[in-house]
């Protein structure tokens, strides 16, 4: 790569000197610089205008190569710089070099093709798309066959210089020469149109980040062929095109010449030069952005050290790497999988044409993965710098994500335990209902029957049976209360609202109930709400000596909100009462909150519970 850059610079220097030296000799050339240096009327402006774009490419290419030695963009720019002045060779009057100069420079210049390659290869320096490769193959074909043939068939070099004989004029014939020239111009036009199409296609499929970076380069890259083509048309309208081809091009030239003021005509070379200058400047600007990126690494380092950092690590990394689509995935060692920053497990990221993946490792194994725009692959050193700076923060974040994932796992397992317990309670209650309760009630029926039958025979037996029946009823009643404590049948029979009303009915303290419930909630939520309210009412009556309780249940917005207010003397403390403690755990297991605080009015207690229903 270095050789290419070096050779290009040598060519640049040599050609500049050469062109300058033609310009100072009193010449027979009918060129733009009509008189030499030191002579009146030397066209300094014209000279600088023609040389400046070449030097801009040369310098920018050298800088780009120095900064990114592996990227071919730098050498390519240097070659373009050399190709822009290679026409100067014609001034040496050595036939092969004159031919070379002619071949590379005259008419639609070779540098136009090279510019196309540059634009297609930016920013990676690689040509990936098959369409792009096809375009380059076609362009090479044009340069190597059409343009070369034309150069060989052209007897006169630049400026109409008589001495500047090209190398071989094997097939010289004015008709052939003109035909080749027309073919060359038209193929170049076609290549330019296809290039536009490729650029538009790439622009449409690019994401915002890539567009932002590529925009100026593409703009300049598109401008150059446009202007060069216009100029080529104008230059060649003085020559004679053949047949059908002649008509539109001639017409356009004549039309333009007639309409466009002379000043605009004279300005055209300046427009070409200015737009050519834009390309290396845009690329230099791209390099400066990369340097800003280095500054971003330092800013990131400072930002990450600030103790009260409010922006998330992801946000900071996005800013430093200028990729708003960047995602941070953190490696969880216990689970051996990647987690998002909120601890959700995700599959191991895989690089795709649209998303690149940068894996970061610490000494102890994988640390994190950044999923980002493939464009950042070109900013390898920036990504590496940012990753190095963020290492500790990432390690920290990784541990956070691990803890979050474990917490989530613990929460889920707590919920499973509560759910399993709840299902077990239902099962036990159902077994009591269908088993012992049914049998005891049936037994009491049999006892009644026996009493009826024995009534005539033996009063003593009746008495004994009656006593047994009283016992049995007690037993049935006790069993009923036991079963209700295990799981309230009313919940499944009639829903939460009826169950809360039932609690209110049973409460020795009068309870006013306000419910706002749309249909059934998940059974686990309903059961939890029931036990919470039951405990609150028991506490209000037993410990707080309340005289009234107000109960509100609202379950309309995806949460069940319970509020139990009493006017007792307070003193409920979850830390002491195991009942409340258990309920606190139960509500938390469902992802809800339970709080007990003094109520607003006269020292009572307010129990407040929120349980998510999702």
């Amino acid at each position: 790569m270095g050789y290419v850059v070096g050779a290009s610079v040598v060519v640049l220097v040599w050609m500049t000197g050469l062109i300058f030296s033609f310009s100072i000799e009193p010449v027979e050339y009918s060129n733009g610089y009509s008189s030499g240096l030191g002579q009146p009327g030397f066209d300094w402006l014209g000279f600088v205008r023609d040389i400046a774009p070449a030097w801009a490419f040369g310098i920018a290419g050298t800088i780009a190569w120095r900064r990114r030695p592996t990227n071919r963009i730098g050498p390519l720019m240097a070659i373009i710089g050399a190709s822009l002045v290679i026409w100067g060779l014609q001034g040496l009057s050595i036939p092969p070099l004159v031919s070379l100069g002619l071949w590379m420079s005259q008419g639609p210049q070779a540098s136009g093709f090279l510019l196309g390659v540059l634009v297609l290869a930016y920013p990676s320096g690689r040509i990936v798309s098959r369409l792009d490769r096809a375009w380059i193959a076609l362009g090479l074909g044009w340069l190597m066959i059409v343009q070369f043939a034309w150069a060989l068939a052209t007897p006169v070099g630049l400026w109409g210089c008589i001495d500047c004989r090209p190398m071989i004029v094997v097939w010289y014939h004015e008709g052939i020469r003109l035909a080749l020239q027309n073919l060359s111009v038209l193929s170049f036009l076609a290549l330019a149109v296809v290039l536009f199409a490729l650029l538009i296609r790439r622009w449409l499929s690019a994401n915002a980040t890539a567009r932002r970076v590529l925009a100026p380069v593409w703009l300049a890259g598109a401008l150059v062929p446009a202007v060069a083509v216009t100029r080529a048309i104008i230059d060649t309208t003085s020559e004679r095109f053949m047949g059908v081809v002649r008509v539109p091009i001639d017409f356009m030239g004549v039309f333009l010449r007639g309409r466009v003021p002379l000043a605009v005509w004279d300005a055209l070379p300046w427009v070409v030069a200015a737009s050519l200058l834009l390309v290396p400047i845009a690329l230099l600007w791209g390099l400066l952005r990369a340097r800003l990126g280095q500054a971003a690494v330092s800013i990131l380092a400072i930002e990450l050290r600030q103790p009260g950092r409010t922006t998330s690590l992801t946000e900071s990394l996005r800013r430093a790497l200028r990729d708003s689509s960047l995602e941070v995935l953190l490696w969880s060692r216990p689970a051996a999988e990647y987690l998002t920053t909120d601890g959700t497990p995700v599959p191991t990221p895989v690089a795709t044409p649209k998303r690149a993946v940068t894996r970061l490792d610490s000494d102890d194994g994988p640390l994190a993965a950044l999923v980002h725009d493939p464009f950042l692959e070109e900013q390898r050193s920036l990504v590496d710098g940012v990753s190095a700076v963020a290492q500790f923060a990432l390690e920290n974040e990784r541990l956070h994500a691990e803890v979050k994932a474990q917490l989530e796992e613990v929460r889920a397992s707590r919920e499973r335990i509560v759910r399993a317990g709840d299902e077990e309670r239902r099962r036990v209650e159902r077994n009591i209902h269908d088993g012992a309760q049914q049998r005891l009630v049936s037994l009491s029926l049999a006892l009644s029957m026996a009493q009826a039958k024995a009534a005539k025979a033996s009063p003593e037996v009746v008495e004994t049976l009656a006593a047994a029946e009283v016992e049995l009823k007690e037993a049935i009643g006790e069993l009923r209360e036991l079963a209700r404590g295990i799981h309230p049948a009313i919940l499944t029979e009639a829903g939460l609202r009826a169950a809360l009303e039932s609690l209110a009915e049973r409460s020795p303290v009068p309870v006013t109930v306000h419910t706002n419930l749309d249909g059934p909630l998940p059974p686990l939520v309903e059961a939890t709400a029931y036990f919470v309210v039951a405990e609150a009412l028991t506490n209000a009556a037993r410990h707080a000596s309340a005289s009234t309780v107000s109960l509100t249940a609202d379950g309309t917005d995806g949460w069940l909100r319970l509020m139990v207010d009493d006017d007792g003397h307070g003193g409920a403390d979850p830390a002491r009462g195991s009942g409340l403690r258990g309920l606190l755990d139960r509500v938390a297991a469902l992802g809800g909150r339970l709080s007990i605080e003094p109520s607003g009015t006269g020292g009572g207690t307010r129990l407040h519970a929120e349980i998510p229903c999702a």
Partner: protein, 215 residues
């Protein structure tokens, strides 16, 4: 009187059928599912059916749903709902949804032959039966004590029986007092509680239950 029975527990169902027969009713059918019940009621409606709250398939409130359906499609059939648990809210809903001809009793209450016989007769003739436990629980709540304290002990007894769905005559027999005395007590109760429920027994029950449950 023809009585139908539905309960998924065979032991209980057969025991109840024998008891009902012993009490002098005709057992029209004794089945285990709601489908069989509805089919039997459709083909040859009995005077009353005894329904368990929890029935297959979900064992939640199939009995209540079946009761509502029978009461709306065959209003001449009384429905006695049995449950292992009795709740004021369920009683109030049964009354609100079905009006008359319904009863709501604790399951083990049927072992009391007089209660069972009385309940079947009452619902078969369009009366209302509410389990005494529901009433006593509502009466024992502290909140209503201020107003209820104004009632005399005798008036409280009358109020309980009224809430259970007893007619004036039955209240008089139960408390060994005359018909006129019962009426006097009732009008005193209503004026003290500021209730104006009308003469129909089921409306009276509904009004009293609503008052006792009232928030």
């Amino acid at each position: 009187m023809r009585v139908g029975i539905v309960d998924d527990a065979v032991l209980f169902r057969e025991g109840l059928a024998r008891l009902v027969a012993e009490l002098g009713f005709e057992v029209a059918f004794s089945v285990g599912t709601v489908e069989e019940l509805l089919a039997a009621v459709e083909t040859h409606p009995p005077d009353a059916v005894i329904v368990d709250v929890r029935l297959p398939p979900s064992f939640t409130n199939e009995g209540i749903v079946a009761a509502r359906r029978i009461r709306s499609e065959q209003p001449q059939v009384g429905v006695l709902v049995l449950s292992q648990y009795v709740e004021g809210s369920q009683a109030a809903r049964l009354l609100a949804e079905n009006g008359r001809g319904v009863g709501y009793l604790l399951k083990d209450r049927v072992a009391d032959l007089d209660t069972l016989s009385d309940a079947i007769s009452r619902i078969a003739t369009g009366g209302t039966v509410i389990d005494p436990e529901v009433v006593s629980r509502l009466l024992s709540r502290r909140g209503k004590r201020d107003t209820l304290d104004e009632l005399t002990p005798r008036e409280r007894e009358v109020l309980s029986l009224m809430a259970e769905g007893q007619s004036n005559t039955a209240i008089g027999e139960r408390l060994h007092i005359g018909h006129k005395t019962v009426e006097t007590h009732i009008s005193m109760i209503f004026s003290k509680l500021e209730l104006f429920p009308g003469d129909e027994v089921d409306r009276r029950v509904h009004a009293v239950l609503t008052y006792l449950r009232g928030n």
